[in-house]
Amino acid sequence: MKSAELYPKEYLAGRGVTKKSTHRGDRMEPLKRFGGLKDYVDVLYYCIKCGQCRSTYQEKGRMRVCPSGELRAFEAYYLGGKNLLLWGLARGEVQWSDRLTHLLYHCTLCGNCAQQCQVPEIHYYALDWLEAAREEAVKRGVGPMPQQERYGKHTLEEYDPYMEPHRDRWSWLRKEAREELPEKADVVYFVGCTASYRQKSIAAATFSVLKKLEVDFTVLWRNGFDEWCCGSPLQRTGQVDRAFKLAQHNVEAIKKAGASLVVTSCAGCYRMIKEDYKERYGLDYGFEALHITSFLAARVKKEELKNEVRKRVTYHDPCHLGRHMGVYEEPRKLLRAIPGLELVEMRRIKENAWCCGAGGVVMSAFPDLARYASDKRIEEAISVGAELISSACPFCWRNLQEATERSWSSLKTLDVIELLWEAMK
């Protein structure tokens, strides 16, 4: 049986807020997914900037949800403000400018605002028009932010946004180990740029776990069908044409590997391959995509986790994995399965999880926003007595790790898969 056939349908479906089918019922007419700004003009004015996009409503405490708005406070930084600015733009009452670009890009696209909004059309489509606005800004030459433009160019040349040479992509893996991997396999492990160039320990742990479980897998290192950036940083900043080129290449590379399933370490890569490649770009790729935590949650057996990890751990839901794609339980299932590990939850979790500040590619353009968001998250982790904050995304890991260092606390950061490897090695 192929790996892709082993998984329950809901694992493969993607079921976050970006999925228009989620609980939509008969409450609204469906709109176009991934449309241009003009496709949403007749919805934007439903917004009355009521402020529901600023705090949760289901849980006690009405917790704040928008890093951008909480940092800058002006209405323009919240979803309500952006909705009405875009409406004003459509009516000619607001003009394209560098200031507007700043406002549109000063957002992690975490989607927590849309999660809270109860106007169905805004709830389900706001992320689409926030991205459409960035795409329009790029078309008009006022976007992306200068730093994002620089790495956008580099990504087309060296296939990563970290300004690193492509030849170093596999520096985390010994040449012999790489060459041992088959050219074709049932599963492709799509490592992603952050785990390849920055948080290499996550890539190494994932590789080790897959090996240990004797998964028939490979990685895309061979010339001609090598792994490139998934395109997420470009797509999220409106550089759609560039992102599309990367997507086309990656789909061809995965196909050549003959895989029925691609698994990713990175939540951003997962959303990109699972949703954007297929539904936004219309690429017909004939394989399934899973985040590594979903893949392993259905595979790892309790007896394989023999080492105790005596830690009080809290889990941070990556926005692209949780709210965007609906994967909340699988990483928790893995953590709970680790002997000795105590999972403690923060107050803002799952659908209401506070963004770590790395999303929407704000780390390069608005480092203060990235720092603010991650510092707040670390404060929350410390407040529940966690010794360790875990996530399922190297990008989150990176931003949370920096905040952990700034916090002068004893808190540590580890990816779920790193913890899993600790338990099974």
Partner: protein
């Protein structure tokens, strides 16, 4: 090197930045656009020069003193979604956005009040109580959670404990206000003590700020009454017509203090349908005429009744008494749970639970499939119980002429001592003609009310309504109001274009 002198705008900008910090002032057109209008009413947008976000009373004082020196208007602002454009900057100036002054400073469990800063929202206050004082509750209006607590208090809003606490104005225990000239004043017991336990025994000067539409000062602190949480039940009383249903709830309101009734609101059918989240039912498909609705078997009148008691036994007794009163009068009393269970699962959360929670679904009322499109406003009045049915028919008649649904809503408060009702209309923000229709209908209805509802104490905050209203104020009293305004705001800078400025 020649240093170019700063122009007036640049000078004021620098000074505001010095008061509140560079990042808390903006003169970007894009930012100001969002302060030019409430984006929810048919009022026309205005313009402002600056938005500034103070974080302390001292910073508010600094802004107001600067404004006085420069003779530039000041517009107090919390959420900016008043349904009558109260927050629209009509004559330019500085919008003072209080959202950074959003702390709950104290909750006094013995004396049952919360002391909050001027920019606290309902989400902020209710969230704080849920987290730190789960046994206490506060009367909450049917407003989105991002709206302000203090604006509700000083514009005499209507909350879901109205039968006990009255209007927002009645819920005030004390205020701290920065006057238009920069001095700080205190109202209530906080004048003489650290406790904000009430508005007496010295002269109650909170009246200088309640009902003045933000034209006499900026409220920087307010104490609001709290109540202990108790077991609660919700009912819906349905009757064929307003004429048949209203007298029943009037009688219940009079006996409310013995029946544990904390809230009674009343609606007509289109409002109930819009409010209870029945998106299946488009307003376009509902007959405009209530008599036509009744002919097709639809009860046009419904009222929500909220009952509190310390025990289930007592709730059972209350339920029996209320139910008997309803049945004897030919109406139907349905527990809300039953209404809820008949709704599709994903729409249940939209019921107006009157459970001390801000209505997170309010904006959803406005979406186009339900006849709206981002605008909701109303014409309303305090009035005598005996004129409520007449008032209802009047609104329906006027709105029908404009081919618009009348979403009728009212609340009986203080055991029947106040009743307030309003005719609500929704329209499309993107359609200038629709907005114009709303304005015309409102003018006409307001005029009708003045002419034909003898008991009307009209309540609408927009300048056109204020102008019309003030022309009816008893002469010497109007002179006194003007003297007070001139005393407090000698340069006429505080939220100009509202209330007395409209004369």
């Amino acid at each position: 090197m020649v240093v170019k002198p700063l122009n007036r705008h640049e000078r004021i900008l620098r000074e505001l930045q010095a008061i509140v910090g560079v990042q808390h002032v903006s003169d970007w057109p894009e930012v100001l656009f969002l302060y030019s209008w409430d984006f929810i009413s048919a009022e026309k947008p205005g313009t402002c020069e600056f938005v500034v976000m103070p974080s302390s009373v001292e910073e508010v004082q600094g802004i107001v003193r600067l404004a006085n020196r420069e003779r530039i208007p000041v517009i107090p602002w919390v959420s900016g979604i008043c349904t009558a454009g109260l927050c629209i900057p009509r004559e330019g100036g500085i919008v003072v956005d209080l959202r950074r002054m959003n702390r709950v400073l104290e909750v006094n469990e013995d004396d049952l009040y919360a002391l909050v800063e001027g920019g606290v929202t309902w989400a902020g206050l209710v969230g704080y109580l849920e987290e730190h004082h789960p046994d206490l509750m506060v009367g909450v209006p049917w407003a989105p959670s991002g709206t302000g607590v203090v604006p509700y208090l000083i514009t005499t809003g209507f909350g879901d404990l109205g039968m006990i606490s009255g209007t927002g104005g009645d819920s005030i225990n004390g205020l701290e206000v920065v006057l238009p000239t920069g001095e700080i004043v205190k109202c209530g017991s906080c004048m003489t003590s650290q406790y904000w336990i009430g508005r007496w025994p010295l002269p109650d000067i909170s009246g200088l700020f309640v009902g003045w539409q933000g034209t006499t000062g900026i409220v920087t602190k307010a104490a609001i009454k709290l109540y202990p949480k108790m077991p609660v039940r919700y009912y819906l009383l349905m009757a064929e017509t307003v004429e048949k249903g209203y007298p029943i709830i009037q009688r219940l309101a009079e006996r409310s203090w013995t029946l544990g009734i904390a809230d009674i609101w009343f609606n007509n059918y289109p409002f109930t349908k819009a409010h209870t989240g029945s998106r299946r039912l488009k307003l376009d498909e509902v007959p405009l005429d209530p008599d036509e609705r009744v002919k097709s078997g639809i009860p046009d009148f419904s009222a929500g009744i909220v009952v509190f008691a310390p025990s289930d036994e007592l709730l059972n007794v209350h339920e029996k008494a209320i139910s008997r009163a309803a049945i004897d009068a030919g109406a139907q009393l349905v527990p809300y749970d039953e209404v809820m269970s008949s709704m599709p699962v994903d729409e249940r959360a939209e019921l107006p639970l009157a459970s001390n929670k801000p209505i997170h679904v309010a904006p959803a009322w406005l979406s186009t499939p339900r006849g709206g499109g981002g605008i909701i406003s109303w014409v309303g009045t305090f009035l005598s119980h005996r004129e409520v049915p007449k008032f209802y028919r009047m609104g329906v008649g006027v709105f029908k002429k404009y081919d618009k649904h009348d979403l009728f809503y009212g609340r009986i408060m203080m055991h029947g001592h106040h009743v307030y009702a309003r005719h609500i209309m929704v329209c499309n923000k993107d359609d200038p003609q629709d907005l114009e229709t709303m304005r015309k209908a409102f003018f006409e209805l307001d005029d009708e009310i003045r002419k034909n509802i003898k008991s009307a104490a009209r309540y609408h905050l927009s300048p056109w309504a204020s102008r019309a209203n003030l022309s009816y104020v008893h002469g010497p009293t109007l002179v006194l109001l003007k003297k007070i305004k001139n005393l407090l705001d000698p340069n006429g800078l505080m939220n100009p274009g509202h209330l007395l400025d409209t004369l």
